[in-house]
Structure formats: structure tokens, C-alpha cells
Symmetry: C2
């Protein structure tokens, strides 16, 4: 697959590592060309099975069928709005955790989610929520304490969800379909909960939520 | 400690097993005296370190400092209302997952939680949310796949939370303080998510959410 990652920050880096580990091609897009170049270089040296990695500025055409919005909330909403028609038909992955400025509450209105806001912001995009409960450092490794990360995936487009699940599995992760896009409300609640526990438990973003059985 | 468990159903049974395993005394209360007797007998034979177990009807005085409302939502609200002043000063544990009739959404209004509703229903009760993300069969064992269950605990009364954490730890579980009572919104979201995944993943309520690190 061809995957465009918009945002060359920590999460773009973490997810990028999993995608190239699975042998998929990546285009890294960032407003700062140097950041995009730097991450592309890192991912290129980690790539498996002939996966290619390119860097690109924000004004180019979006390559591939999957676009990952690897930016913070509410930047992801602005980004989705700015991209407009260029997202039509694409699998658009929202990874955001919509925290308020003091990181002690969700910034979204009760009864909705950032992923649903992305969906209403775009037209024709096949929005999927994923990777918001997996921290960047753990994505680089793909595991915590020897156990593969669980990637919890919500969306209304079954095929789009399966595409994201395939990317996760190919990168050595466990994909769990949690249902329709409105389940993003619970996923964002879980992401928020995980973030609030990092400091008190001294976890340093090296933790992961797992559904064990 | 003395712990009163109201509700001799599956969750009362699961939590009861952990509490007597930790050597704490339990009173089982149920509207059906036979149910209470039967569970008391089972717990008595599982009790450790001289823990005593009694059965009681609903009209008796509540024994001990901890009262666990082991009933379904919205029955827990009715129960809290009915108990009224008898809960004053007690550590009151709400374990509910407030699902709607079709089990595909939360029945609580957005921006609140069943635990917060219990708190507003009572006067002087020290309400703690706990045990809503741990399924009954896993509580009987205390573990899943060899890993101790995580008990996620929310509340505004630090001492009350520590009391519940102590009970969990004494029963061989891992207690995690997730913050103020309003975090019950996220815990109930997580409980809901876990319930919805049982059938599609074929888990049969033998799964558990863990924060691994």
C-alpha cells in the first residue's frame, strides 16, 4: 500500500516505523520540509521488504489510498478542512487525543469525538479512528514488555477499517475492530485516561492498553 | 475490614471472592435471602485468614465501612436512594456499566457517569468507582492469562479510594488510581467498550483491560 503521513512529529514517526516494517510505501508530509526529509531518511533505513519512503511538502497531491493525520487536535480539524476534496475517497486516519490546554479533560463537546468532527469536516473521506491509544515510543518498538500493541480501530466504512487493520497487522501489531466511528468517543476517553496516568505512575509513555484474554 | 456487598449476582460473587481471598469479612445482602445464603456459603469456603462471611436481608443495618453496590444500572441509583442515610460516611463502591437496553450505547447523559449520578443521589456517601472494567468470571480467578487484573479506581475522596485499592491489592489484584470521580466517564466508556467486544471476539467475558508497561 501507499500511505501518506501528514505530520513528521513523534506520532508520525512511531506509526511510520510500523508501516515501513510491514513493507508498505510511505510519503512523509510536513510544513517544515527539513522535518519531513529527516523522518523520511530515518524510515528509509528502517524499511523492510523494499518499502520506499519519500518526503514531500504540504501542497503536493496526496499519494496513495491511506492518509494519516498525525497532528494534534484541533490542528487535525484545520488540516482536514484545508485538504478538502483531496481527501475524497481516501482512508483518512484520525489519531488525535483531543485534550484541553491543561490536559485534565477532553476538549470535545460531550456526546461527540474528534474523529466524528473530522468526518463532518470532510466530504467523501473514509474516516477511521486508530492509533490514539498507542504512544509514540511504543510504536517505534511495536511492543511493550514483549507484547504486541493493541490498535483499537473504529469506523463506519468496513473496508477502510480493514485497510488500517492490515497495516497494523503487517507492522506486527494486533488490530481490534471496536465498531462504528462513534466508538471513537470511548477510544478518546481511553487515550485521555492513559495520558493522565503517565506522570502519576511514572510510565514515561512506555505503557500500553491491552485487552488480554 | 468489614465489607457489605449488596447483590448476590455474578459481580457480587466475583468481587466477594477477591475480598475474602484478602482475609476481609463480608456480609452478602440480597432481596432474595436464599441467594444471599448461597453466595455466603460459597465465599465462606473460599475465605482466607479467618475471614468471616454472613448473609443478610436488605432491611438490616449496613455492617462495616465499605458498601459495594453490586447491582445493575439503573438499579444502583434506586438502591442508593432507598438506602439514604444508611450510606452516610461509608465508602460506597459503584461498579455499574450503564448500558442501554440494546447494549450498543451508554444510557447516561453525555458529560456525566453512573458513578456521579450515585454521588448526587446520596448524601455523605464517599462514592468510589471501581470494578466496572473487570468481568465477573475473571474476578473469581483474580487473573487472566496469568496476569493479575487491573482495578481502575476513580473518586474524589482519597482515603476512600485507598480503602478500595487496599481491598483490591489484598485480593491479589493491581489497583490503579485514575483520578477524580468524573474519570468514571472514561471508565464507564472502557467498560462499555469491553462488553461490546466480547461477542465479536468470542471472549466470553474471560478478557481484561490491562495497562502494561
Amino acid at each position: 500500500m501507499n500511505v501518506t503521513i501528514i505530520g513528521a512529529g513523534n506520532m508520525g514517526r512511531g506509526i511510520g516505523h510500523r508501516i515501513v516494517a510491514g513493507g508498505h510505501d510511505v510519503t512523509v508530509v510536513d510544513r517544515e520540509p527539513e522535518e519531513a526529509q529527516q523522518l523520511a531518511e530515518e524510515l528509509r533505513s528502517a524499511a523492510q521488504d523494499g518499502a520506499t519512503v519519500e518526503a514531500s511538502g504540504p501542497s503536493t497531491e496526496l499519494r496513495g489510498e491511506v492518509v494519516i493525520l498525525a497532528v494534534y487536535y484541533p490542528g487535525n480539524l484545520e488540516l482536514a478542512r484545508d485538504l478538502g476534496d483531496r481527501l475524497a475517497g481516501k482512508v483518512v486516519v484520525d489519531i488525535s487525543n483531543p485534550l484541553n490546554q491543561t490536559f485534565d479533560a477532553l476538549a470535545t463537546a460531550p456526546g461527540t469525538s474528534a474523529a466524528e468532527e473530522v468526518a463532518t469536516t470532510t466530504t467523501g473521506a473514509r474516516v477511521v479512528k486508530a492509533f490514539n491509544t498507542t504512544f509514540a515510543p511504543t510504536l517505534v518498538e511495536g511492543q511493550v514488555a514483549g507484547q504486541p500493541l493493541d490498535v483499537l480501530i473504529a469506523g463506519d466504512d468496513e473496508e477502510a477499517k480493514e485497510t488500517v487493520a492490515q497495516l497494523a497487522r503487517d507492522g506486527g501489531l494486533r488490530a481490534i475492530d471496536v465498531g462504528p466511528l462513534e466508538r471513537a468517543r470511548q477510544l478518546e476517553g481511553l487515550g485521555f485516561l492513559g495520558i493522565t496516568l503517565q506522570q502519576p505512575l511514572g510510565l514515561n509513555f512506555q505503557s500500553a492498553w491491552k485487552l488480554i484474554s
